[in-house]
Subunit: 328 residues, 2 copies
């Protein structure tokens, strides 16, 4: 894990901002959310906002509320995605809909999303600046739900002829849009110039893509104790990961058929899942994914060149290495 | 049905605004939404915004986009509520999650919600005025999800000791918050003074409450062909309607027990549902609900007294009568 030592107090403020607010709300609707947030998570998005804000010469304090909003959005998507994906675990504990049933989990997600928009409308900021900020959020949020929409569409339609380009379009929505937003927000709040805002956005997008590919990899190679998600869960859910796309492109006809039929099946045994992982190994799909992730992370770091030297810049560079070497 | 003749072209513009936009979006995520919107609906909320805007001397055109946003929100809640309630029909056709599965219906709802916020952020309006407008939406949206949260909580907890006051708190969130918003938006867009904005908000809230009670009544007394929802559906879903609250307060111990056990049961036959309706009749719960609805509608109309005479005012008065006499 990257050390956030110099921004830690501000990240703690983000935590406080999120949970204090939720605890003030009606227990009947928001009751399950404070403990859900307490399950942790890497808080990589608030850290990115903070670091980018600092790296362009801004004040960390200006990033506290905006990054709390961003992290609330991320958590909202987790609640709904877990329902949509039929995921059983989240951060080592039962997913919210598993613990509380779909109706209440779904509505709690909506409540969280509504609350963060209320925050976003009430930020204490000059109105024309606030509206500019809101547009950044809205554009990225839209890409996130559309990324999820693409993935669900593929699963529903039983679509497997997916190019790497299409795969990237999907994860650039699901993951990169939000890490890109995190960085651009930081730059915006620190009053960076246009070029710097653009560079940091690109850094964040590429970092997110690398992060997601590493997540695909960990999902099949990780250890439940550190990864805290179901190992092989993506395979059970029939997800089109970069390994699936690569394997389908490179495997023999027989192996392709086996892969598609297992991923499409509604009932997968542990052995079925293991057999898919073996196919990935056989065709070098895991190595391919890891190489791609490393490449993207290096590319991301290049976008930091315009920044003056600082502890923030160093940490952003470290994050570039971390996202592809992480085990959890 | 109330005649909206003098505002009909503007209501058509609202329809166009909603559907044109949705058709421009990615089919994979938004594909099911244009036809869902085409199923119709009373469009009472856009009409309220239009009429209130006109009634205070504003321009209908200024209300087109804001009321499209409002109607999109209403439709978003229908998609998610139907999942949460396990409802089978919506506007005479299968609910979206029945037709397309929960994952895709859920995400389409999120996409719709995200899109309307994007619209709300991009409205062409002076920023400080826009932020004021956004605050009105955010506050009301929050009440809507909280109303739904209360209802789901009651069902999950098996709670039946509900006072009329608690019942009103719930429907004032679920329904009145949005009709109140519709009216206040119209007044805001028409630059009404503070008192007039407040009166129209109250009119809208009371009208919504009356509307909802009438909906509870129609759900047990209506005709599927005109009502277009499952008759007795509320009973099947175990909903705490005003009739349930009244009946539990006034019935004998044995009847109470019967009512609670039927509503709590996961498997209800048509006869079970009919038996509950009979209990409502026996204890005067339907008449009680109808009387309440009429009272609230009269009260609503009183809040229009500050308006100068106009076609808009006449239509708002008519709406007060319509909501409690409607059959669909």
């Amino acid at each position: 894990m990257v050390s956030y030592r110099h921004i830690r107090p501000y990240l703690s403020e983000v935590e406080r901002a999120m949970r204090t607010q939720l605890r003030r709300e009606d227990e009947r609707t928001y009751g399950m959310l404070p403990s859900f947030l307490s399950r942790g998570g890497k808080r990589i998005r608030p850290a990115l906002t903070m670091l980018c804000c600092g790296a362009v010469g801004g004040y960390y304090t200006d990033a506290v509320e905006p990054s709390a909003i961003l992290e609330l959005f991320h958590n909202f998507t987790l609640v709904h995605d877990d329902i949509e994906d039929g995921a059983e675990f989240r951060r080592g504990e039962p997913a919210l809909h598993v613990a509380h049933g779909i109706p209440i989990a779904l509505n709690s997600g909506d409540a969280l999303y509504t609350l963060l928009w209320k925050d976003l409308v009430n930020l204490n900021m000059e109105p024309s600046r606030l509206v500019k900020l809101q547009k950044l959020y809205a554009e990225s949020f839209k890409r996130v739900v559309e990324g999820q929409g693409i993935e669900l569409y593929w699963i529903k339609e039983g679509k497997f002829d997916i190019s790497e380009k299409e795969y990237y379009e999907m994860i650039e929505g699901k993951t990169s849009a939000l890490t890109g937003l995190s960085c651009e927000l930081g730059a915006f709040l620190g009053n960076a110039d246009k070029d710097l805002k653009k560079s940091l956005r690109e850094y964040g997008e590429l970092l997110g893509t690398a992060f997601q590919i590493q997540d695909d990899v960990l999902n099949v190679t990780g250890d439940f104790k550190t990864y805290k998600k179901e190992i092989g869960g993506d395979i059970r859910e029939g997800k089109r990961t970069i390994m699936v796309v690569h394997c389908l492109k490179n495997a023999s006809k027989a192996d392709k058929k086996k892969l598609v039929s297992t991923l499409s099946s509604d009932t997968k045994t542990k052995d079925d899942i293991q057999a898919v992982i073996e196919l990935f190994r056989k065709h070098g799909s895991i190595e391919h994914a890891q190489a791609k992730a490393r490449l993207l992370a290096e590319e991301a770091k290049e976008h930091l060149e315009g920044l003056s030297p600082s502890k923030d810049k160093d940490t952003l560079l470290e994050l570039g290495d971390y996202v592809v070497s992480r085990k959890s």
